[in-house]
């Protein structure tokens, strides 16, 4: 089709702010989300920066103890609910899912926009919490501290998370319905790219787990506001009930954070190794298995909480079971490289970094799943290192890899490859320097959520803080060069990576309605050979 006849790209369909704020286009909504979550990423990152500055010395001398408690709380709340959980699904998921299945938009475009507004409203409550003076309960809101004893702005924080939870639910609902009912002709379930499988499984978890969080937080609010409650032992309540309810959501929530990243990794690795994914059906089954079994393991956060020993055995066993599909995925990604034709552009560097760091994080999860070992390690820096390896070394790297991979498609521009590769490698190194020492600190017995610590831990803390400064730089770099590419980047062709997948069959950036004609799918995904 000649240039003049081509329908305008979705970016050209209206230049006013209003056209963006009232859009129904899933691609524009994806960008709205990307802007919002980036802002919150840097808010959470600012809190982390202050934490690492405080922890560079043993004495609690940079901020007061109360301030420190508020810093780690807001770091957790913002990073979990306002960055990690929405990140890949609402940005890359929103943008790509309809295109990957050959649809013109999601099933419920207005619900999609509502989801963004709910995110922003929830974010407003969280910012209000910060401005009002902060909340100091930890992102886990354990009772009775949060429901009775804390003097900080728990209600505001809880309302913010409640609202953003509904954003999550609506997004998940939209994806489930879209993937079930709107696939293009010939796009059977087993021809779907793994990113779609991952988003689908994530959506199941979002939809089933988040309501539990919503109600649990409501109960904290009711207990705080009205002085009645089921978590207060003085009234016959049980603080352990809170932990069960909270972790029933929050454990599946970590799978919301990692499954989309796994989907992104599969897309990138197959493209840059120019190979079919090894064991497609096992990979898809593993994704579903992780989502389902992930609902059954929450008690591994409670081995020393006062839960019964037998419950501990059951949760420990299931936690080991859920590690098996993750292991399968790592082996399959590795095998996808076998006899491939591999190049190392920035997305591939991020994806390989993801596999490596996720492997380390996952292996350390085995320590925590082992009941006896968790006794010593729980609430120490070992746990912090474990989940940062998965969430930051894993999810964030995969998110950035995906942003780079699909950047030409989304923006129609190419970023500067050399700087991008440098930033990826810098991130990998900075990350390891920040978080590997924390495994050692944890085994040594350094407790989390402490603003001061015994002097023998200082060396490892200094290494960690030094790493954090490198990591911070490596996050600022993509912000800079990606933004720069919007003005000065070379224009991208429809398929600069020569990738498979329906999204690459249309222009970069795509027209508003994605495809000029509905595609017909006739073969399996990843037809790189």
């Amino acid at each position: 089709m000649a240039e003049a006849d081509r329908p305008p790209s979705y970016l050209a369909a209206g230049y006013t702010i209003r056209s963006w704020l009232t859009t129904h286009d899933h691609k524009r909504i994806g960008i709205l989300f990307a802007i919002a979550i980036t802002a919150f990423f840097f808010i959470g990152g600012a809190a982390a920066t202050m934490i690492r500055i405080e922890l560079a010395t043993p004495a609690g001398d940079f901020v007061t103890d109360d301030t420190y408690n508020k810093l780690f709380t807001i770091h957790g709340v913002v990073m979990v609910w306002f960055f990690l959980i929405p990140s890949i699904p609402t940005t890359l998921g929103n943008f790509l899912i309809p295109m990957m299945i050959g649809a013109r938009d999601l099933a419920f475009p207005r619900l999609n926009l509502a989801s963004w507004y709910l995110y922003v409203l929830g974010g407003a409550f969280t910012v209000a919490t910060l401005i009002a003076g902060g909340v100091d309960t930890g992102w886990t809101f354990y009772t009775p501290y949060s429901s009775i004893y804390s003097n900080s702005h728990v209600m505001l924080a809880v309302v913010g998370v409640f609202v953003v939870g509904f954003s999550s639910i609506f997004t998940g609902l939209n994806f489930i319905v879209t993937i079930h009912t709107m696939r293009a002709p010939g796009m059977t379930w087993f021809r779907l790219p793994l990113f779609v499988w991952a988003t689908y499984a994530t959506s199941l978890v979002m939809v089933l787990a988040t309501p539990v969080l919503a109600m649990t937080l409501s109960l904290i609010g009711i207990e705080r506001l009205l002085g009645i409650g089921v978590f207060d032992p003085a009234l016959g309540g049980d603080p352990l009930l809170f932990q069960h309810l909270f972790w029933f959501y929050s454990h599946p929530a970590v799978y919301i954070m990692i499954l989309p990243a796994m989907g992104v990794a599969s897309e990138i690795i197959t493209c840059f190794a120019r190979n079919r994914v090894f064991g497609y059906r096992f990979m898809a089954s593993a994704i579903l298995a992780i989502a389902v079994i992930g609902f059954l393991v929450w008690g591994h956060h409670m081995f020393v909480s006062g839960q019964s020993v037998y419950a501990g055995f059951v949760f420990s066993f299931l936690s080991f079971v859920v590690a098996v599909p993750s292991a399968i995925k790592v082996f399959n990604w590795t095998a996808t490289l076998y006899r491939g034709d591999i190049s190392f552009e920035a997305p591939m560097l991020y994806a390989l970094g993801f596999v490596g760091l996720f492997t380390i994080g996952g292996l350390t999860g085995l320590f925590l799943a082992a009941t006896a070992l968790d006794v010593h390690l729980r609430d120490t820096y070992f746990v912090i290192a474990h989940f940062h390896y998965i969430m930051v070394g894993g999810s964030v790297m995969a998110y950035l890899g995906g942003i780079h991979f699909w950047w030409p498609k989304i923006t129609g521009r190419l970023y500067h490859e050399g700087i991008a590769r440098f930033a990826a490698i810098l991130m990998f190194c900075g990350f390891n320097l920040t978080f590997f020492p924390q495994y050692l600190l944890g085994y040594e017995g350094m407790i989390r959520r402490y603003h001061e610590y015994p002097p023998q831990f200082q060396l490892l803390n200094v290494l960690s803080s030094a790493g954090a400064s490198i990591l911070a730089l490596s996050y600022l770099m993509p912000l800079a060069y990606l933004a720069w590419s919007l003005w000065r980047g070379a224009p991208a062709t429809a398929n600069p990576w020569q990738a498979q997948g329906l999204e690459w069959q249309t222009a970069s950036p795509p027209p508003t309605h994605n495809f000029e004609a509905a595609p017909l799918v006739t073969h399996a995904p990843y037809a790189y050979r």
Partner: protein, 215 residues
């Protein structure tokens, strides 16, 4: 592409009306699944508390108004029947009957809420509202208070859902009146019916939970 919509008569993300209908139904069922989990937390809290304090809950349960609770059950079940009939009316094109039945359903929903209001008012008079001059003369007063706050929170959330349902049913009435729904496009009414049935089912669980304890 406006031409696509003009051709198929459905919003442009959908290929045809069938796909839209399928998507709408799956969307409502998924939403109802989230509601099950939402209420599930409260039922879990109730279950845990009841297992710990069976005598307290038995004593406290004797203070709920079985007659009014029974009336509420009858009203809500009837409203589910009228809702189904209204949907059938829409499907066969009997729009006046459908409108009347939707009106009856909404009124029954309002009646449900009013009976509940009466119940709450009585209970306030009997000093059974926690934090508002609560006093319980029988043993286990502290755990009885737990029973009652669970009662108010759970029935309260349910009443909220009934009110939302009444509003949506009224909106459906407006759609029928303006002939925006009919035999060829009944999805909004069908989905409303699904939601209303769900609200009814939640009550079917709430009723024995609070009104039939040790009775």
């Amino acid at each position: 592409m406006p031409t696509a919509e003009a051709r198929t008569g459905v919003a442009l993300q959908f290929d045809d009306a069938d796909q839209r209908h399928e998507a709408a139904k799956l969307g409502m069922w998924t939403f109802l699944a989230t509601e099950v989990l939402f209420f599930g937390v409260l039922f879990a809290a109730y279950t845990v508390s009841r297992i710990r304090y069976p005598e307290a809950f038995a004593l406290a349960g004797g203070h709920t108004d079985l007659l009014l609770g029974g009336c509420e059950t009858a009203v809500l079940i009837t409203s589910s029947a009228t809702m189904s009939l209204a949907l059938r009316g829409v499907r066969i094109g009997a729009s006046r009957a459908a409108l009347a039945l939707l009106g009856v359903t909404a009124l029954l929903g309002v009646a449900f809420v009013c009976i509940h209001g009466l119940e709450y008012y009585h209970e306030y008079g009997e000093h059974l509202v926690p934090q508002l001059d609560f006093s319980f003369d029988e043993p286990h007063a502290r755990e009885a208070e737990l029973f009652f706050w669970l009662y108010y929170v759970m029935t309260g959330f349910h009443v909220l859902h009934v009110l939302i349902g009444v509003a949506v049913i009224s909106a459906m009435g407006a759609l029928v009146w303006r002939r925006r729904v009919g035999p060829d496009y009944d999805a909004p009414v069908e989905l409303t019916g699904l939601y209303w049935s769900f609200v009814d089912v939640v009550w079917i669980f709430l009723f024995p939970t609070f009104y039939l304890v040790a009775r």
